[in-house]
């Protein structure tokens, strides 16, 4: 079956661009050379990346298959509600401006590589640090799986368009891409991800700007697409007032979660200067404009009958963006656009795998076996980054794609529960470790309990479909409700401990959070 304008020219362009991507990944090892046997060099690029490079890296890191596949699919299916992704990114970067400069400073002073490193010293608590590390790993794995779902959607369209309708070919291509990715992550670490990140950004911007201009011109403007969409269901032109609290709380809750994800923290710590980190972060909402435009692709699809038929035929909304592009753009450009989405998933997957490999090696294994040498730690992190990638890949092959998206939603709710231990602790030492751990546990139990109760008991769903819970008649994002429980336990527990004579024993002094202390050499 022919799909739009896909032909062998598209495939050739796609393969050439993938080859360039692979070259840049391996070349990264030579870029701003450092001793890659050290964990700070391998996983943080030696903390030597400047304003522009960190901007590209964080842009490439934070705007993922979630942006290219999940958000447009959400807008396609649920309409204006999914545009919450726009205030979400705006607020997410404000949260980053509040927290990342401090985390960066204390990490520079005390050679931290992960958030759990900080938690361990701040609370003088190994169990809390391990809870934060494990939460990071558990929440991040489905996020990597989501990237793979996005890449799968691209390959599916490309192969279908060429008349190859075989799941085996799709899976083999994915395995091949992952071997290349794992090999260069292993050799180049974060440097490889930073260089390929620039390449990804160029391709993504080229695609977004071209499509957002070309498609409306072709189909008779946005108004045509909106008219068709609105005629199916009245949820596209504006937001139904019953969803105001849902919109607001999804945006705020997701904004809190964004910089608790290990990959976001990893990217921020790679900056070489606190002031430069602030500027790179401030420029990231510009990247959010790209996200907003891609979200609109989910509505533009309604103006392209061929793409609409394909999505309805396959029942897979994840195909919205690839299908839109395939039915409207010339063959060579389809190659560029599809590789942009494909690489758009690969680069974050690499950084995510690096970040959770660090957590696993430093904050889980090293806690159990403290005698591990720094060299062994780095080697372990490198191998684990490979293991985690293939674990996520295996997961996507075994379970339906929709599960990965749902687990990623659940991951967002769970990762929010590390907010008191990581973000609040940057500003106060008065949180008592056991209460914070109890708050974390209470938050996670509430989150999972609400998700289960709402989806399976109340709505009788067979899978996890909504992360909204009606509280006093208003829909609220479960992450915020769980965070409320978490904060209540943490704060009340700490107050009681304080009254009983507990006093903070933080190993970190205030100055270490605020200024880079030059060591006398």
């Amino acid at each position: 079956m022919a799909i739009g304008n896909i032909d062998y020219v598209s495939l050739a362009v796609f393969i050439i661009l993938f080859a360039v991507f692979a070259f840049l990944g391996f070349y990264g090892a030579r870029f701003r050379k450092g001793d890659l046997k050290q964990i700070e060099e391998w996983s943080l690029g030696g903390r030597r990346l400047g304003t522009i490079l960190v901007w590209f890296l964080l842009g490439a890191d934070l705007f993922t298959a979630y942006t290219f596949i999940a958000v447009p699919a959400g807008v396609f299916g649920s309409g204006s509600l999914y545009f919450f992704a726009v205030p979400y990114v705006a607020w997410g970067f404000f949260v980053a401006l509040l927290t990342m400069p401090r985390l960066w400073t204390v990490s520079r002073n005390r050679h931290y590589v992960t958030a759990a490193d900080f938690v361990k010293d701040r609370f003088n608590s190994k169990s809390l640090a391990m809870a934060v590390a494990l939460t990071g790993i558990v929440a991040e794995l489905p996020y990597i799986a989501l990237q793979i779902v996005g890449m799968e959607a691209v390959l599916e369209i490309l192969l279908l368009g060429l008349g190859v309708s075989s799941k085996v070919v799709t899976e083999l291509s994915l395995v091949l891409a992952f071997i290349v990715l794992a090999a260069f992550t292993f050799t180049s670490g974060l440097r490889g991800a930073a260089l390929t990140g620039i390449f990804k950004d160029v391709l993504v911007w080229l695609t977004v700007i071209t499509v957002i201009i070309a498609v409306p011109l072709q189909i008779g403007g946005f108004s045509h697409a909106f008219t068709v969409a609105q005629s199916t269901k009245k949820i596209f032109e504006t937001l139904p007032p019953s969803l105001y609290t849902a919109y607001f709380s999804l945006a705020l809750g997701s904004a809190f979660a964004l910089y608790l994800y290990p990959h976001a923290i990893n990217g921020s710590l790679s900056s070489n200067d606190k002031q430069k980190l602030k500027y790179s972060t401030s420029l990231l909402p510009i990247y959010g404009i790209g996200l907003a435009l891609i979200a609109l692709f989910g509505i533009l699809v309604y103006g392209v009958p061929g793409a609409l038929t394909l999505i309805k035929h396959t029942g897979n909304a994840a195909l919205a963006v690839p299908a839109l592009i395939s039915y409207t753009m010339p063959d060579w450009f389809i190659g560029i656009a599809l590789s942009a989405i494909f690489i758009g998933g690969l680069v974050p997957a690499a950084i995510m795998a690096i970040a959770i490999a660090n957590l696993f090696a430093r904050n889980v294994v090293k806690e159990i076996n403290p005698n591990m040498s720094p060299r062994t730690e780095t080697a372990l992190a490198k191998w684990m980054s490979t293991v985690f990638k293939f674990l996520a890949l295996g997961f996507v092959f075994v379970v339906p794609a929709s599960y990965a998206i749902q687990l990623q939603l659940l991951g967002g709710i769970i990762i929010s529960q590390t907010l008191p231990a990581v973000f609040l602790a940057l500003f106060t030492e008065k949180l008592e470790p056991k209460s914070t751990l109890a708050g974390w546990a209470g938050g996670i139990i509430t989150a999972v309990g609400l998700a289960y109760y709402r989806n399976f008991v109340q709505l009788h769903q067979t899978s996890f479909t909504t992360s909204l819970y009606p509280l006093f008649g208003h829909f609220l994002y479960m992450a915020l409700i769980a965070l409320g429980v978490n904060l209540a336990i943490t704060l009340i527990g700490s107050a009681i401990a304080y009254a009983l004579g507990w006093r903070p024993k933080s190993a970190i002094n205030k100055q270490e959070l605020e200024v880079v202390i030059q060591k006398a050499s």
Binding site: S80, F83, V86, P87, V89, A90, W91, F93, F94, L97, L98, P216, G221, F222, S223, H224, F226, E237, T238, L239, P241, Y244, Y247, F248, A251, L252, Q275, K278, Y279, T281, S282, L283, P285, I286, G288, I289, A292, L293, L296, N509, K510, Q511, E514, V515
Partner: protein
């Protein structure tokens, strides 16, 4: 409390308000190139967000400059 965090806090609050006044922006008209106001207002606010954030980031004297005890 130092000036930098105060500035980020205030600009964050302004931004939250800009994205919460649904009665102002949850409308179809005025359209821009066929795009309902609901959408283009929020995209435009990303530009405003960037300006607010850069403004807050330029405040450098926010942090204590080595005035600690040691």
């Amino acid at each position: 409390m130092n000036v930098y965090y105060l500035a980020v806090g205030i600009t964050f609050l302004i931004d939250i308000i800009l994205y919460s006044v649904f009665s102002v922006f949850n409308k179809v008209q005025p359209e821009l190139l066929g795009l309902p106001f609901f959408y283009w207002y929020q995209i435009l606010m990303l530009v405003v967000t960037t300006v607010l954030m850069i403004g807050a980031s330029t405040i450098k004297n926010g942090e204590v400059k080595g005035s600690g005890n040691r």
